[in-house]
Amino acid sequence: MTTAVATSSVPDVTSATSRKRRRRPLTGRTVIVSVAAYLIAIVFLLPYVEMVITALRPPAELQERGYVPQHWDWTNFTSIWKTGFGTNLKVSLQIAGGATVLVLLVALPAAYYTARRKFRGRMLFLLLVLATQMFQPAAMLVGIQRQFVSYGLSPTTSLILVNAGFNLAFAVWILNAYFSSIPSELEEAAMVDGTGRLGALGRITLPLALPGIVTALIFTFIAAWNEFIVALTLSGDATKGPLTVAINNYIGQYSVDWGHLFAGSVIATIPVIILFALIEGKVVGGLTAGSIK
């Protein structure tokens, strides 16, 4: 992670060399490598292309076997709001947004403190954080269900708490890495210049750790947005559940509303894939840092 911060200060040099390399004549090897990579990239995208195609098929054409529909039809995207999809979208935004804010509030001080200080119990705390990453909610679903039902909290509040708890580890690891890479001398210099410790934190450390904060923010949001098994268990009424539960509900016992299912899926996934592309390079660090260190 040190390099992540360090390289950002010298982007001109690297981009210049890569530009020079790109101008080299294409060798046969590069052509083979590129073709293979493009083909694989297409394979990875194809299911999502099929998702968009099916969402845009007119209902009457669902039972035709052409690879693409004869007419493109947006009605699924307009009629879906009449099935109560707007409520589900709002619930998903509340859950994912709430969990993200909670994770940041809780992870920032913890990550900062463990990065700056050696104290008794630090190991134990880091092990505890690692444990939350290893134990997924699916493995303790019965416990989560019985506990949150007995608390009498609303499903949305419960889901905010559960998603925040199980995604805390990622935020702690990635913020810890960023804070560790910022020399504490920088903070001390700012404190000598008259800002307090909190001033130094707010003016020096947090801005420098911003890429890490943004990564933690987007990753937590997406994880909570996509979560399914706890949402399915805790939201009793699918019409008041988040998007994953609502989309699962388009599968009826005897028939499936594929048009609305995929229109909903497009609305739920495309923004998330674009958000994820923004943090693409940094995610692995947060997922593996706890286990490698």
């Binding site: 790109r22 590069t30 490598v33 590129s34 694989i40 297409i42 299911p47 099929e50 039972q63 509030l105 809780v106 992870a107 001080p109 913890a110 463990t114 200080r117 050696k118 104290f119 630090r122 190991m123 880091l126 505890l128 954080v129 444990a131 290893m134 134990f135 997924q136 493995a139 303790m140 679903l141 019965v142 416990g143 989560i144 269900q145 506990q147 559960v162 925040a164 708890g165 199980f166 805390l168 996509n226 399914f228 098994i229 994953t244 299912l261 995929f262 739920a268 996934t269 998330v272 894939i273 958000l275 994820f276 592309a277 693409e280 995610v283 692995v284 997922l287 593996t288 490698i292 260190k293």
Partner: protein, 320 residues
């Protein structure tokens, strides 16, 4: 925020007057309270959301309930006995092992190749890497639904392609009903599980490849080593830490994977495509205590895997 580790260390060296103050009860309180102030919220959240449910889960596995959740009294070991008496349990556990081993094994093998490929320099590399993340960012449930639709015996695009190729003879036939037969359904679900696990594994290995110093490859080239030899003697051993972590995270994710199977077959017909996670969910609909017993066993399995991993990688020595 008064005392810092650096300060306390400095005070050890300094002579008398400060030393007296260090022992004062207020400072001692501060030294203990300060970590709690910064870490307290995190510990509280982990306690409420992760640790306490584990306790409730264990407790539930020794209790009796009506199907809609009314407590009937203690059950002793009866839930576990009932679970082990289930005629489907052995098949479910065997299927879980096959599921984890095949999905993780194929994923890791393919990722080694993919990471190598996407580590090469070629025009458009960034764009292809973006394409790779789609299954990772998208909800696994929705990806599972896409495949469910694509495998529809009458109109699914997979059957349309296979029909064009002459493999599927008639639409709507038993042959075209891939998700209706337990064994073909399970194979397709493993394919989907591999598909959604590949991006993370590939990215983890790509990150590992980038930590290998370039000089090593130059030295190998100077020594005249073949590229396969270089890969085996330099790349693979140095990739070991990233590989092990990706392996562990994959094992845990794949073991707990629920949306793929639930989205495509609901574990059915019967329990014939259920892994132990899905089976736990199916039991929960009617037998809460027994489902908790299944959870306890699932949970134990995860702990064993994690402990083996910590031991193999000597995690404790590495956190500093």
């Amino acid at each position: 925020m008064t005392d810092t580790a650096a300060k306390t260390r400095a005070e050890d060296v300094r002579p008398t007057p400060r030393r007296v103050r260090r022992g004062s009860p207020w400072r001692r309180v501060g030294r203990i309270a300060s970590p709690l102030l910064w870490l307290g919220p995190a510990i509280a959240l982990i306690g409420v959301v992760v640790l306490w449910p584990v306790f409730v889960m264990f407790k539930t596995s020794f209790q009796r309930f009506t199907p809609n959740g009314f407590y009937l009294g203690p059950a002793g070991w009866r839930n576990f006995k009932d679970l082990f008496d289930e005629p489907d349990l052995n098949a479910v556990l065997t299927r879980t092992v096959v599921w984890v081993v095949v999905v993780v094994g194929v994923t890791m093998t393919l990722s080694l190749g993919l990471a190598q490929l996407f580590n090469q320099r070629f025009p458009g590399r960034r764009v292809t890497r973006w394409a790779l993340i789609a299954p990772w960012a998208a909800s696994v449930l929705m990806t599972a639904f896409i495949f469910r639709w694509a495998l529809d015996p009458n109109y699914g695009v997979v059957n349309v392609i296979l029909h064009d190729l002459g493999i599927v003879k008639t639409f709507g036939s038993n042959q075209a009903d891939w998700l209706g037969r337990p064994d073909s359904a399970f194979v397709w679900m493993m394919i989907v599980a591999i598909f959604v696990s590949l991006p993370f594994s590939t990215y983890a290995l790509l990150a590992g490849l980038q930590t290998i110093p370039h000089e090593l490859y130059e030295a190998a080239r100077v020594d005249g080593a073949s590229s396969w030899r270089t890969y085996r003697s330099i790349t693979l051993p140095l990739l070991r830490p990233s590989f092990l972590v990706a392996l562990l995270i994959n094992v845990i994710n794949v073991f707990n994977s629920f949306p793929i199977i639930w989205g495509m077959t609901r574990g059915g017909p019967g329990f014939e495509t259920a892994t132990s996670t899905v089976y736990m969910y199916q039991l929960k609909q009617a037998f809460i205590g027994e489902s908790a017993a299944m959870s306890v066993i699932n949970f134990g399995l995860v702990i064993v895997v994690v402990l083996v991993f910590l031991k193999v990688t000597r995690w404790k020595d590495q956190v500093s």
